[in-house]
Amino acid sequence: MESWENMISFLRWLGKLLKHMTAEPTGALLKPGDPGYQEAHTLTTNLDKNIKIITEIFGLSDDLMVRGMKIGRGKKQVRVAVIYLDPLINHTRLQQGLMHCLQTIDHLPSMGVTTEWLINNALSDGRVIEKKSFVEITDEINRGAACLLIEGLDQALLIRLAEKIGRAVEGPVTENVSKGAHDAFNEDVRTNIALLRKRLHTTRLAVENLQIGELTKTEVKLVYLKGYVIEGLVDEIKSRVRRIRIDGIVDSGQVEELIQDSAFSLFSLLDSTERPDKLAANLLEGKAGLLFDNTPIAIIIPGTLINQIQSPEDYYQRYWFSSWIRVLRWLALLTALLGPSLWIAIITFHQELLPTELLMTILVTREGVPFPGLVEALIMELSLEVLREAGLRLPQTFGQTISIVGAVVLGQAAVSAGLASPGMVIVVALTAIASFVIPTQPLSNTIRILRFPFMLLAASFGLIGIIVGFSILTYHLCSLRSYGIPFLSPLAPLSFGDLKDTLIRAPIWKMLFRPRLIGYREPQRQNPDQRPHPPSRKGKKFIRRRKQ
């Protein structure tokens, strides 16, 4: 009997679940009678009624301030009301730009007060707009505007007096450079746009407003250079962003997952950056960017793998050095990906690859270790991963403890206890250091995950396992596209001319053209003949020409 009851209750629960799953999403659409429905209506000429509706819409908000006053002198006084959300408003500007102006109005026009008259004669603050519907008005109030309602008018004036909340422009957290600009985006989208505009003083820079989130109504700015951006890219981004129906987003990372091409790939198909100079350089190539309110990370569309292993600093250093660093970075990338698996393959299958003396040394140190290479590597790698995560989450004051525990316990003690061989410790440490060379976080994280399947393959098939894994990986990479641009371009499909900004970095005066697949609308980037010459030669030419 009991089992029957269990069964029935389970079925009921299942039914509820189904009903829940098939139900219409709430919050997306409002029906008459819903609390927010009145928002759809527009203002009336009755001041008290307007105030009442707005306060009703905001409900029990403690921070909504409604301040009534009378403007003008004598008998022709007109009642007005100022409504705003207290925490969002800059009070100095409210006082100077609105309240003071209203109080000092001496005489009102004989025709009656109009919004136009107020804007032209009374209000000193520049950012004033007129709105009629409650939806727009409440939206503006939510964003930090003060709403001025006037008796007898069905229009409201909204004065944007938002206080800038948040930190000042600071240096980047993850994308540090030694040479180059040290400012980074922060949580205020207006500041971010300003940082970008400061670098691109051109009317071609377009900043379009998009909005995501039914409740959060997060401001998203689509930025690109008109006439330079890839054809059709802007429409595609807009359509993908508009397709998002979600209650809210709080970070650009959430949007990234919603608008990128391949849903299940381990790789991040869009680049992200917190550096305005990097975004500006990418816009100059012909890409587009998305900036988000409340997120210091901008998204660059489309993304390529090559872009993710380059640092903006490469362009600021001398090209010899940058090229060297880029080669080094490729090696580091391979080490970070394949280090432990190569080690496993060599000590398990291909001992003959090592020179004899080295092999003898390694065999002696491995003598007491009870585990096969794979288990040893897994233990060390996993503990290193845990250590890394712990280092991130711990309060800064504990940071030192962790590094001591990591270095002494995992390194020294594991070796002397015979749990790991010194060779393995070196390889794991080298891998970890190499993975920090990768300049962007998403790629670094992908490599961290991919290391483990490669270790398994190496332990079962040796180098052939690694080759097979690597082939599958490159096949996957070759198949990826980000907004129509192949993820591996310009390597595959190969554009020979673009290779000078890929594995190496050619001198700036050599990089005549934009990337072939991205900047094809305005292929040429600079004048062809800009290679610097010693002044004597040019001077002579100049003098000769003047004499003629």
């Binding site: 299958f349 180098l463 052939i464 080759i467 082939s471 490159t474 096949y475 070759c478 192949p486």
Partner: protein, 364 residues
């Protein structure tokens, strides 16, 4: 056309080279040296001409149906039932050639290292890697090849550079001691390898600029000839004409010969590994042709359905018929020289003839 991919003429050229050279270089030299002796490096010349004939025939046929692959337009030329039957034959040919390649590569790994790993396991993982590429389409295979190519060519150049000091010029003398006939005989053996340019029949429709196909084919033939000549010459130069005859993979022995400053030694495994990158792409090209041909024969809309059965089929053929190494070498040196030209040249030429007579397809 079941695969909507598009490839450029450069990609086609690179694909053709890897599809021919990646395993031809492994086996062919020892058989050829058996016949042509110290003049074997000359054998890279004549097969280039026969390869050109194959290419011209295949391109002439393909140009009549620029939007279709070989097995797709066969029924239109020959009538429904004979066409389907011939398409089925070509499906079998591609599957068979894939299994031969599979067998060669696994045997190569087995001889070089991994003596204890079961060959079936090796074949399964190599096959899966290739199949994944086929699943993603010809475009992805072509792009992968662009990445693989430098690695693969680098492996050849490392070998040649590092054994260069051991090459003894006396090994090439006397020149043409027994006349030209042994060279021609050796060339006949090579011709069937070089005829693998007949893959053009299955790759032509994907080319984005159709007029560049001759360029791709000719560059491919020349590149392969040069590489093959250099490798054969290096083998003879280092080992003379007697020893390589008894070697299974002369190029592997060449790599074993490398010793630089007593530190760079025993790097043959690295060479094998770099080589395997190429083999996986080669296998993918043949699997792709096999899968498309099978799908055309069976009238499937999605060629990806045939992939796993084909993989299973190739592994079974490879293990059953070429389980021991002797049967593979027997096939390559005694059957393939006859079997190759028939499927690569004779049948396409006959089909072309029929198409011309019956005026099927566009003008070529």
């Amino acid at each position: 056309m079941l695969d909507q991919g598009r490839i450029s003429s450069v990609q086609l050229f690179l694909l053709l080279v890897i599809a021919e050279a990646a395993t031809a270089f492994l086996y062919a030299p020892s058989d050829v040296i058996k016949m042509a002796g110290r003049d074997s490096w000359l054998t890279s010349v004549i097969p280039t001409i026969s390869g050109l004939v194959v290419a011209v025939v295949c391109i002439a046929l393909a140009k009549r149906f620029p939007q279709q692959v070989f097995t797709e337009y066969l029924p239109q030329i020959l009538g429904k039932i004979p066409g389907k039957i011939l398409a089925g034959v070509y499906t079998a040919v591609f599957i068979h050639l894939s299994s031969v390649i599979m067998n060669q590569s696994s045997a190569f790994i087995h001889v070089a290292f991994l003596r204890e790993t079961p060959l079936v396991a090796l074949e399964i993982i190599i096959g899966l890697a290739s199949i994944y590429g086929v699943y993603l389409g010809i475009e992805v295979i072509a792009r992968q090849n662009e990445l693989v190519w430098p690695v693969w060519v680098l492996s050849i150049f490392i070998i040649i550079l590092l054994v260069a000091e051991s090459i003894n010029p006396d090994n090439f003398r006397p020149f043409l001691e027994k006349g030209i006939m042994p060279v021609i005989k050796g060339s006949a053996l090579f011709s069937s390898f070089r005829g693998e340019v007949f893959l053009l029949l299955m790759l032509y429709p994907y080319l984005n600029k159709k007029e560049d196909v001759y360029k791709s084919a000719v560059y491919h033939l020349l590149t392969t000839a040069v590489l093959l000549g250099i490798i054969t010459a290096a083998i003879i130069g280092v080992f003379g004409e007697l020893i390589p005859v008894y070697m299974v993979f002369p190029i592997y022995n060449l790599a074993r010969y490398i010793s630089l400053a007593r530190f760079v030694e025993r790097i043959q495994i690295l060479i094998v590994v770099m080589w395997m990158f190429g083999v996986i792409v080669k296998l993918a090209v043949f699997y792709h042709s096999a899968a498309i041909a099978a799908a055309n024969t069976l009238g499937l809309k999605n060629y990806r359905l045939t992939l796993l059965p084909i993989l299973a089929g190739t592994i079974i053929i490879s293990r059953l018929f070429y389980g021991d190494h002797l049967s593979l070498t027997h096939f390559l040196s005694h059957i393939f020289p006859y079997y190759g030209p028939v499927v690569e040249l004779v049948i396409p030429a006959l089909v072309l003839l029929i198409a011309v007579i019956l005026k099927k397809g566009g003008k070529s």
